[in-house]
């Protein structure tokens, strides 16, 4: 550990972030202090204060201390970034679509998209595998275990 040595850029970013979050915690702790019951030595601000100080100290250390164990980061190429971004969009679409389309349809649509994007299968194959998979999920999670997924506008 070398103080004031070569600090990695990403450690600096993380350090700043830790300081910001630590400060937010302390501000929030100050807000909650007023809700302490009279005569009580601790409150909901106690651990928040502790957490805030913890992050502030860690952040300061990350800003000024050179830390070991950092190897050069290799980022994915454009093609893979596109696959990751598309996968993420589909993942988020599940959250937004399921209240309207229901579990079965949304799972089918999302699985098909995943098989197409990640697996690079043709649409026909993706549809077929997704159909089987959705059927299994529906039977196991909805029919057998009764997990109360949203049923959407179509009631399935």
């Amino acid at each position: 550990m070398v103080i004031l040595g070569k600090v990695q850029f990403i450690d600096r970013v993380a350090g700043v972030f830790a300081i910001v979050v630590g400060t937010i915690c302390l501000v929030e702790a100050r807000r909650l202090y007023q809700y302490r019951l009279p005569g009580v030595l601790l409150g909901d601000d106690t651990f928040l204060t502790f957490g805030g100080i913890w992050l502030l100290l860690a952040g300061l250390l990350m800003l000024f201390v050179s830390l070991p164990g950092m190897s050069p980061v290799v980022w994915p190429n454009r093609e893979k970034i596109l696959v990751i971004v598309k996968t993420s969009i589909v993942f988020l679409l599940f959250v937004f679509l399921i209240p309207y389309l229901g579990f079965a349809i949304t799972t089918f649509a999302v699985s098909t998209s995943f098989f197409f994007i990640i697996g690079r299968y043709s649409w026909y194959k993706s549809l077929a595998i997704a159909f089987l998979f959705t059927l299994c999920c529906y039977v196991i999670f909805t029919v057998w275990i009764y997990i109360p997924f949203p049923r959407g506008l179509f009631g399935i």
Partner: protein
């Protein structure tokens, strides 16, 4: 002698065809449900409880105990094969279990997990048989100050699991600690760190975070690396070699003992015991650098601790009527439905029932092994399924798993967010485990700390130093902290010297 006679009588009942069948069904169903991500033993018991309604009290409790064991084991299967920790107790198993699966050693990992569970479960049942009332009494001496000190001890694990840099580990732990506080506060019921978002009022769920940081992040990385399957390369042996068993045997025993002792304490989370067992195993290992990279002891220890905890939990349940964990609370509910009041009188008024259940737990442990060992080959082959098929399945299971915890779509969103965060953690070589550990322990620590201060006559933290068990644990925590920091510094110096010499 009397205990042995009663136990033999219990075996006489437990070995009846109907009770054997029911134990098998319970273990089988529990394993199936436990495999599903997001559904742990509590959910498994709650879901399958109605099935036991048609059975007699003894048979019903035998089945429920089987479900409990099965679900505890089932959670480790997805942890090892898919890096999806189905429950808190499986998080520690993912660290080395999944690494072994990637090396084509899913079979030995699963087999050691089953064997370790059997060994630890058997220890636990032996303890239950011979020491139940005595141990239960001792466990009652653990109050909030002792629990708080124990959690502080567990937090010191962060040091040894912080990877190459202690400061990054502590920073990650700090983030986890703070994020755990999001939600409605304990004392004043004011929203804390919610910034006006109603959805954050319920806090951030640990399972959703763990699924995101482990499973979803792993999928993103695998897409980046264009992985062909979970297992990179050929699958090796399906079963552990003699060397694997020899290496993992001490870990199984140590993990089982740690899990058993901790499991006696009501409210002691299996997540805590598994991480403690993992850390202790790493500390005593001659090759600690192998942990996190596929060390078989890293699977044996937490899995044994997990099952040891589940077995030991029956001791305070039967002897004192105190459920040690949420699944056992469901079991307690089951007992009460059948008019059986757990507690000191249970052994006297319903001794036949108690000894039959204890005997069936021995049998259930054997059934767990018999059921799951032959399946190891099938499960292990899953790691060779093309990634293009597995990744979508894993992602959808992650979505379902995180939703099913609280039936909340917000948790699915959290899983996604933490999946992205986990990806960046991995890219920048920041440690994930301190984050998850601090996140898991903060609520427990805050609650027990508040209870301790309320208990204290002076209303100050002096109470932690005036109670002998609490003081002992704090001294132990400090000692472990010093040892861990020294080992960490030594490793940091060695690695920087190694880097200098290469340059």
């Amino acid at each position: 002698m009397d205990v042995i006679n009663q136990l033999l009588g219990g075996f006489g009942n437990a070995l009846s065809p109907s009770n054997l069948a029911v134990a098998f069904i319970g273990v089988f169903l529990g394993t199936l449900v436990g495999v599903l991500p997001g559904l742990g033993p509590t959910s498994a018991l709650a879901i399958l409880l109605p099935l036991t309604a048609v059975l007699s009290p003894t048979t019903a409790i035998i089945m429920m105990a089987g479900i409990y064991y099965g679900a505890m084991y089932g959670g480790s299967t997805t942890a090892i094969l898919l890096n999806i920790p189905g429950e808190v107790a499986s998080v520690a198993t993912t660290l080395d279990g999944y690494a072994m699966a990637k090396q084509g050693r899913a079979g030995p990992a699963l087999a050691v997990s089953a064997i370790g569970s059997f060994v630890a479960g058997t220890f636990g049942v032996i303890g239950l048989t011979f020491f139940a009332p005595l141990l239960a009494e001792q466990a009652l001496r653990f109050g909030p100050p002792e629990y708080a000190a124990l959690i502080v001890l567990a937090l010191t694990i962060m040091v040894s699991l912080s990877g190459p840099s202690l400061i990054r580990g502590l920073a990650a732990g700090g983030f986890g600690f703070v994020i755990a506080m999001v939600g409605i506060s304990n004392m004043s019921t004011e929203p804390r760190l919610t910034f006006g978002f109603m959805e954050l009022g319920g806090g951030v769920d640990l399972i959703s975070v763990a699924i995101g940081m482990f499973a979803v992040a792993e999928i993103i990385l695998a897409i980046e690396e264009s992985r062909k399957a979970v297992a990179i390369g050929k699958i090796g042996r399906l079963f552990p070699s003699r060397k694997d068993l020899k290496q993992s045997a001490p870990a199984m025993c140590r993990g089982g003992v740690i899990g058993f002792i901790m499991g006696l304490l009501p409210g002691c989370s299996p997540g805590l015991t598994t991480f403690l067992a993992y850390d202790i195993e790493k500390k005593v290992s001659r090759h600690p650098e192998q942990f996190g990279k596929g060390a078989i002891e890293g699977v044996a220890a937490p899995e044994s601790a997990n099952n040891g905890t589940s077995s030991a939990g029956f001791i305070p349940l039967f002897a004192l009527g105190i459920p040690a964990s949420p699944p056992l609370a469901v079991l307690l509910g089951g007992l009460m439905i059948y008019g059986l009041q757990p507690g000191p009188m249970l052994f006297q008024q319903h001794s036949e029932f108690v000894w039959t259940v204890i005997a069936s737990m021995y049998i259930g442990n054997i059934m767990l092994l018999v059921l799951n060992l032959p399946l190891v080959g099938i499960w292990a082959r899953l790691t060779t399924v093309p990634f293009g098929v597995m990744a979508p399945i894993i992602l959808v299971l992650c979505i379902i798993g995180s939703y099913s915890v609280r039936n909340s779509l917000f948790d699915v969103f959290i899983t996604f967010l933490f999946g992205v965060l986990g990806y960046f953690f991995r890219k920048f070589n920041w440690p994930i485990v301190p984050f998850v550990l601090a996140f898991m322990l903060e609520p427990m620590l805050e609650e027990t700390y508040i209870q301790s201060i309320n208990m204290a006559i002076s209303g100050t933290p002096v109470i932690f130093f005036t109670r002998p068990i609490s003081l002992t644990l704090i001294i132990l925590a400090l000692a472990l902290l010093v040892v861990s920091v020294r080992i960490k510094r030594r490793d940091e110096i060695r690695s920087s010297m190694g880097a200098d010499s290469e340059a």
